[in-house]
Subunit: 376 residues, 2 copies
């Protein structure tokens, strides 16, 4: 690998502090935060050794308490953002400020000759993204969207099932992210700061699904909820139809005191389910479609054979979900390799732009009540 | 109660045989069928005694084997449908033939002076329904849609939660009926006979939900599947927005080898879930919204407090689902009382017409890919 990159972090809130400790500790594990002081290294053997290619130059936050937290953890603190940008030993900036600040900070950084790794949602609008992409092109500096959840194991399981047709041709996929605590605190509840759950979790689950299914989206219908916050969406239900006929239901909720399965995947030869973040679940594959003999079950006032489960029958086979080891620092690594001209961006600017446009179509759909023939 | 009604049944297939044995045995339990010979009486004390108000005059089917089955079970068989209609001791006809035959048979029956109890979907189209309603008005004969699932216990549980605000104001309801055996056999897989799952299960779950939520539907988006049958819908996903802001997701699937929860109900003060037909489930009520202190959980590559479950916390309270005893013969009874001029139809013609129109809007939505501002 080429040059080891020195990175400065602007913003030391939830994500910024995670990055700071992840890089400072050398594990890359960003689940550190200002509220948690110890996080074990990643399990598995595939994770690349972060200190080989990335080191922390320092951080800065407008909140003095957060800078103090950094100092107490042995992390250098810059005097301000300008000082970080002016430091010639800083190769790159990681932006972890509220969403509405990303654009100006990214442009300043690239104009100061720094590469940029930018927290998601990278921009509040696709128009802003186009401006930032223009500056990236003009300056020759990398602008890298930190949309990191295509390396989540739950997604990798679903992607394997989809790609390898483990349950035949998939026709419907559901992914649901459900909590019961409303929108996370402070600026995420404020519209002008880029708050709301679509920009928070929506970006991730849309990002991944449109990467998994390469076809265009032909139709999109979205409904937002405003149960716990009248200003910012605290959840949504999104229906996507792809050009290959596959439909996807994405849902985020923050007023949900019971949990539906995290993922459901339906194919013409079976189904798979991931129940929760622990990745409990199963894959059920059909052996014989014609073996329909079963005792009907009582379903309310009626008897149903159609809806009777196949439990205990010999017409289906049940499997454990496939599991993975993988490089959990893959995004950091690809960022560094991209900056060094050694690799293509795995999370491309064009991809992030498409995700922003899909999210804009979601808002349009929810506000108008109409389905959007998005890329048809 | 007034006059005891004598009823003839036309069609001795899955539902016709159930009705025949339910009435013949006096239990009213229609889960009998030509494949099952003994069904216990309903549990509970609330169920009215069917023999007090309804008796079976006889049955008829164009399939001789089914008439033979009836005779073997001590049930009278008419020579044909005309003979049934011509019998002056027959007060009412129960129509349990394939869906495309309902209209002509219902009109013939009413013109012959018989009341009609008609299996669902009562008609294939709202236009047919208007014709039948006109004949009902003209002849003064009852035409009663046998949309019987508003007396299902799972629905009664959800209705109680909704009506009594047991989890605060409900904002979203999901009901999913999932099987793995495709569309049930014979005519239900043929479009011109009124096949497909929307007309089979859709009618029930739409029927109930629009009865529970009295407001108009302002928006409707529906997507059908044709996985196991290219001609008839073998499932669908339906989004409804009501004028009070409540959204409902109804789903039927017949290529689903894992089961999502049967019902999920989300309110601003809690959630409820019915997992399956055994009515396993729970109701979770929020005690303190502000008590958000919790340890974050690991969710893929990131840490989330927002999506961390409240398990074991003291900020929520968990309850068993409310259960009910009720008159499981309520529809038969109301039909008889209506024929005797003693009651209003609980399942009115106008209601069935509305359900048919909603289903037509579903087909329009799925075919065009558009949302329908249905009754807005």
């Amino acid at each position: 690998m080429g040059k080891k990159l020195r990175i400065g972090i602007i913003g030391v809130g939830g994500m910024g502090s995670g990055h700071a400790m992840g890089i400072h500790s050398g594990t890359g594990n960003t689940i550190w935060s200002t509220q948690i002081d110890y996080v074990p290294p990643f399990p598995g053997e595939m994770t690349s050794n972060l200190p080989d290619y990335l080191e922390l130059a320092g951080v800065y936050d407008i909140n003095p308490a957060r800078n103090e937290w950094a100092i107490n953890h042995g992390i250098s603190v810059f005097e301000n953002y300008d000082a970080m940008l002016a430091d010639p030993t800083v190769d790159a900036i990681l932006i972890a400020t509220p969403n509405h600040l990303h654009k100006d900070m990214a442009i300043s950084a690239m104009r100061a000759g720094k590469h940029v790794l930018c927290e998601k949602p990278v921009m509040i609008s696709s128009a802003d993204m186009l401006d930032v992409m223009a500056v990236s092109k003009e300056t020759g500096k990398v602008f890298y969207p930190r949309q990191n959840r295509e390396w989540d194991e739950d997604y990798l399981i679903v992607k394997k099932i989809y790609d390898e047709k483990l349950i035949g041709n998939v026709f419907n996929i559901k992914c649901r992210i459900m909590g019961s605590r409303g929108i996370p605190g402070d600026w995420r509840g404020v519209k002008e700061y880029g708050g709301g759950m679509m920009l928070d979790w929506g970006v991730h689950i849309i990002d991944r699904i449109v990467k998994m299914i390469p076809e265009k989206i032909t139709n999109l219908f979205c409904h937002f909820t405003y149960i716990t916050n009248p200003e910012c969406d605290d959840g949504f239900q999104l229906h996507l139809t792809f050009a290959n006929g596959v439909t996807v239901n994405l849902e985020v909720g923050t007023c949900h005191f019971v949990n539906e399965p995290l993922w459901c995947v339906y194919g013409d030869k079976g189904s798979a389910m991931i129940n929760n973040w622990n990745l409990d679940g199963k894959l059920v594959r059909l052996i014989s479609w014609d073996d329909k003999d079963t005792m009907p079950i009582l379903a309310g006032a009626g008897l149903t054979k159609t809806m009777a489960p196949r439990d205990g029958g010999e017409s289906v086979e049940e499997f454990e979900l496939p599991r993975f080891d993988f490089d959990r620092n893959a995004l950091y690594r690809n960022f560094v390799e991209t900056c060094n001209g050694e690799a293509e961006q795995i999370v491309s600017q064009e991809h992030a732009l498409r995700v922003l446009r899909i999210m804009e179509a979601c808002f349009e759909s929810s506000e108008t009540g109409k389905a959007i023939a998005f890329e048809a």
